[in-house]
């Protein structure tokens, strides 16, 4: 395996600078993710399967699906992001890369942000791209279909960012998976409420500007605050081992 650009030891003079480090970390994470294509595919398959459970389990009627469809897609996306969170820091923690990251001169806040962004690109973004197809399958109309994709586009990064806090807190623990869900689901609920609320408002023809603005506010808050908590949690988890 060739040496990762982000991990090469450099003398302080030619250190890559904060944004250089963010970029190389981001690209490295993408490269690592694309080397294990099955891991990339699994959350997507899970997303599709969960969505297909609802028409089979509850009711395949058009009237039900077109009303509940956006909620089903949102819940499925939320669960699928939740499942993928365990991978966010796990491999780097196991092979010691994470310790090197924490020791980097660049701010851990921005490095965490780059890592979370990479996580979103490989898990959240594919969900957003896939959602129109599944939206058609659950009989969402044109307007609410577009709104669903938009809310998922704004909402999934928030899910990744909030989830990174939980992933960092449960790092290295036994039964981390269930615990992670316990910690994170309560924090996901507001995003879910406003995400599906936006689609519901759009379906009724009500103005959605305020909802979109609120979702945007969630995103801004998550980008500015969540990496702080994640960085602090990473330091705690590493001092634990």
């Amino acid at each position: 395996m060739p040496a990762d650009p982000a991990m090469v030891v450099r003398s302080p003079e030619d250190s890559p600078g904060t944004f250089g480090a963010m970029r190389s970390l981001f690209l490295r994470d993408l490269r690592v993710a694309f080397r294990q294509k099955q891991d990339l595919l699994n959350p997507l398959l899970f997303f599709i399967m969960v969505v297909s459970l609802f028409p089979l389990g509850v009711s395949p009627e058009v009237s039900f699906l077109s009303r509940a469809g956006s909620g089903i897609l949102w819940v499925a996306a939320l669960l699928s992001v939740l499942l993928s969170l365990d991978h966010l820091f796990r491999h780097d923690y196991d092979d010691g890369t994470l310790e090197q990251l924490v020791l980097q001169p660049q701010s851990l806040f921005l490095l965490v942000l780059a890592k979370t962004l990479a996580h979103w690109v490989v898990t959240g973004l594919p969900l957003v791209l896939l959602s129109p197809v599944l939206g058609v399958m659950v009989h969402l109309e044109g307007n609410s279909l577009g709104m669903l994709c938009l809310t998922l586009l704004i909402g999934t990064p928030v899910l990744s960012l909030i989830g990174s806090i939980g992933a960092a807190l449960t790092l290295g623990l036994r039964s981390a998976g269930v615990l992670l869900s316990l910690l994170i689901i309560p924090l996901y609920i507001p995003v879910l409420i406003f995400g599906t609320g936006t689609v519901a408002a759009a379906a009724e023809g009500a103005p959605v500007g305020a909802y979109i603005a609120l979702m945007g506010a969630f995103l801004v808050l998550a980008v500015t605050l969540a990496p702080f908590a994640t960085a602090a949690a990473l330091r705690i988890s590493l001092s634990n081992s």
Binding site: R174, P186, A232
Partner: protein, 247 residues
């Protein structure tokens, strides 16, 4: 001032203080709580609209108020843990997290009982009910995370981070009844205005709220003392204490 602060970090010193404080908290709290509840349940006037069913307010409001403020207190203790690494702050969080969870459950339960005669349903997915439910989940998360990490120090700090993240929910609960159109009525007590009910109704409510706060203080002291004894069981003063007690 600073000496007091340093002393506060010592579990042994706190153990002694709590021992002296406890009877006061218990008896004054019990007197206030019983006075408030008995006055409220038996002597306060009937509500013109809800009749007698409103009387559950004397249990519902104190529990709900305390459920939220216990979380805020825990978050403040979390800041203290992160900044000053004070052992006592973590002891407090450990001791009161289950108490807070029980109070939240009590608030939800009495709310459901109250909801049945007034709204005609045990539960609705209304903003305040939902956010109280999230609060309950947050308490569960704090307890679960604290139990999962075996190392005492990192467990304390991890729980503190989670508490601070979760504190976002408190303003949402507090203002949910004002921001959204919901079935739940707005807050009973405000600092700036007089309550919208006659004094015979709100004075017993105030008494029971204060009483429950004191009882909570008593319970927190008791549980913290237990926690201190468990954690410091290898120190000399605890061993002597046990010997004095004759075990």
């Amino acid at each position: 001032m600073w000496r007091f602060f340093h002393k506060l970090g010592s579990p042994k010193w706190f153990y002694g203080i709590a021992l002296q404080l406890r009877p006061w908290l218990l008896w004054v709290g019990l007197a206030l709580l019983l006075g408030g509840v008995v006055w409220g349940l038996a002597f306060a006037p009937k509500d013109y609209l809800q009749g007698n069913s409103y009387r559950i307010i004397y249990i519902h409001v104190p529990a709900a108020l305390l459920a939220q403020s216990v979380y805020v207190m825990m978050a403040v203790a979390g800041v203290v843990t992160l900044v000053w690494r004070m052992k006592l702050a973590d002891l407090f969080v450990r001791a009161v997290a289950p108490v807070g969870a029980v109070l939240t459950f009590l608030a939800l339960f009495t709310g459901a009982v109250w909801g049945k005669p007034t709204w005609g349903t045990w539960w609705i997915w209304d903003a305040r009910l939902t956010s109280m439910l999230i609060l309950l989940f947050l308490y569960f998360g704090v307890i679960a995370l604290g139990a999962a990490i075996s190392d005492e120090k990192s467990s304390a700090r991890a729980v503190a981070v989670l508490l601070l993240v979760g504190v976002v929910n408190i303003p949402i609960i507090k203002y949910s009844v004002e921001w959204w159109n919901t079935l739940h009525q707005p807050a009973t007590f405000k600092l700036t205005e007089k309550p919208a009910m006659p004094a015979e109704m709100w004075v017993p409510l105030l008494l029971s709220v204060l009483g429950l706060y004191l009882i909570f203080g008593w319970l927190a002291c008791l549980r913290m003392q237990t926690e201190i004894l468990q954690r410091e069981r290898r120190t000399r003063w605890v061993k002597e204490l046990v010997k004095e007690a004759g075990y």
